[in-house]
Symmetry: C2
Subunit: 310 residues, 2 copies
């Protein structure tokens, strides 16, 4: 969520969380700091820097508290984290994260496999997180987002019923979420569906409680889906530098949409992101040095910017 | 251009022309026939099967007359070809092509480098082709399209003036074209520009004389640009199976949008293409066998169709 008026679209970088969580080589803390610093310097206003999950499950993100503490020192940067439960939210609050996202798989099969929790259990965590945040002094409260995962379909269940999506979205708002976001965890979304589901969910949560999309490019439709979102008033788009990442629990799902390609598209369309594309492209060097075995994706980085692109 | 009422969008396969013209290994005539046969059997209604250019310039397409003769035997298939000049058009008429496209680079610099002709020279060819077609008995007349190349920007000139685009579009219609198509030869297009230029050109040529887009995926925006086209009423979209091809004279330009990904997007959106996606995916095997050294692109082929996709 952005309140800035000097940008049109908030590009939220999720690579340090969603990208890193799916790769094997551990990125050293110093490289994460360099990455976050460089993206912020390029103009990125929000970065999901990690996830408060048990270190035994995701050693890659074991240093999330330190990353949050560091990222908080960067002026103007919204420091976001993912949390799987109340315990994670407590750690996030302790560390001083500005924004907390609790993912809830609309597919209960996926929820059981991913978080080992039923919908009832996840929603109970959501209510407890809501109560925790409400108990804090106003100036210490992070914003709280419910991430509607597998909203566009599930690799285990297939199509997702609208009724289930709306039920979970409503329950998350009642639990105390400030907003919900639609997440194409499995790369199943298409542009017509993006428009339809954004409108449908807004009918339940209100227009201002759904501003963001988390899209994957699994079947090449990532930017088309982002465009569809723009056309129904979406103002926050998640993306991962070099397309690092994806959901390791959704077989066949490849990475997030590529930050570089997304920012190029938006800026080429005349939508202000606040991001310097050339500076953003240069940040790839940090990834290449820190995790040299990982492929770096993106079309714009390979092709270069158009002649005369300002 | 489609007159069929049982499909919503005509996907025009250009791989046998645009794809093959940019690769080195020569595809044997029998493989071309097998490719065209298999795509038509999968439901593809229009295929650009070759180009009538001197064999010395493009040995890959030296058998275009034979390919046209063969493709004409497939019921219901529109057999399209590219021609660079009157001489090519005469050969196309002789071979019995149903549709002829004359590309005109809106960037005169690109025109000089690509076709070695000024705008005045290309427009003179267009008028002569128009006269040739007008001289034929009605039942033998191919449809005649002017391809507005580098419409979205040029790797040599940079941005293209609207006035130049409109001037060439109008001149092509006056020369006898049935319609014009916008071509993102260089992969410079963005969705806002697609909408703007479609509307602008239609203001000059009329709504019914611009139904098609030829898009590249150079910067990853191909399908987003296609979606933008759909939203302003575009009904014909060019694509290349496995993303083969591109423009060898536009440095840095990679391939056409991938037919498989485009058809998946359209069908997922509920737009009827008449094409069986599974059958289309199987056609890749013919390319893999015939030109094994060429990379085959596409996200949907790698990821597979979503669970429950009908």
């Amino acid at each position: 969520m952005t309140t800035a008026t000097d940008i049109d679209i908030l590009v939220s970088e999720v690579g340090p969380r969603d990208g890193l969580q799916s790769i094997t080589p551990i990125m050293p803390l110093e490289a994460k700091k360099a990455w976050i610093t460089a993206e912020a310097a390029a103009g990125v206003r929000e970065i999901e820097v990690g996830s408060f999950v048990p270190a035994s499950l995701l050693p890659q993100l074991a240093d999330t508290a330190e990353v949050v503490a560091f990222a908080r020192t960067i002026p103007g940067l919204t420091v976001a984290v993912l949390v799987p439960n109340l315990r994670g939210a407590q750690a996030a609050v302790q560390a001083g994260a500005h924004k907390i996202t609790l993912p809830v798989s609309i597919s209960e099969t996926h929820s059981l496999k991913n978080l080992r929790r039923t919908h009832a259990q996840v929603l109970q965590e959501a209510r407890e997180i809501g109560a925790l945040i409400a108990s804090l002094p106003a100036e210490q409260r992070p914003s709280f987002e419910g991430g509607l995962s597998t909203a566009f379909g599930c690799t285990l269940e297939g199509p997702i019923a609208d009724s289930k999506l709306l039920e979970i979205a409503e329950a998350l708002m009642e639990a105390g979420c400030d907003e919900v976001g639609l997440s194409d965890t499995t790369g199943y979304a298409n542009p017509a569906q993006v428009k339809r589901l954004v409108r449908l969910v807004r009918g339940v949560v209100g227009d201002h409680a759904l501003s963001g999309l988390h899209l994957h490019n699994t079947r090449g439709l990532g930017l088309a889906n982002a465009l569809a979102g723009l056309e129904v008033g979406i103002t926050t788009l998640d993306a991962s530098l070099a397309g690092l990442g994806g959901c390791p629990f959704a077989p066949g799902a490849s990475g997030n949409i590529v930050t570089e390609d997304l920012v190029f598209m938006l800026e080429a369309m005349g939508l202000r992101t606040g991001i310097d594309v050339e500076a953003l492209l240069a940040v790839r060097g940090i990834l290449a040095d820190a995790v040299p075995s990982e492929p770096l994706y993106g079309f714009t980085p390979d092709a270069g910017l158009p002649l005369g692109f300002a």
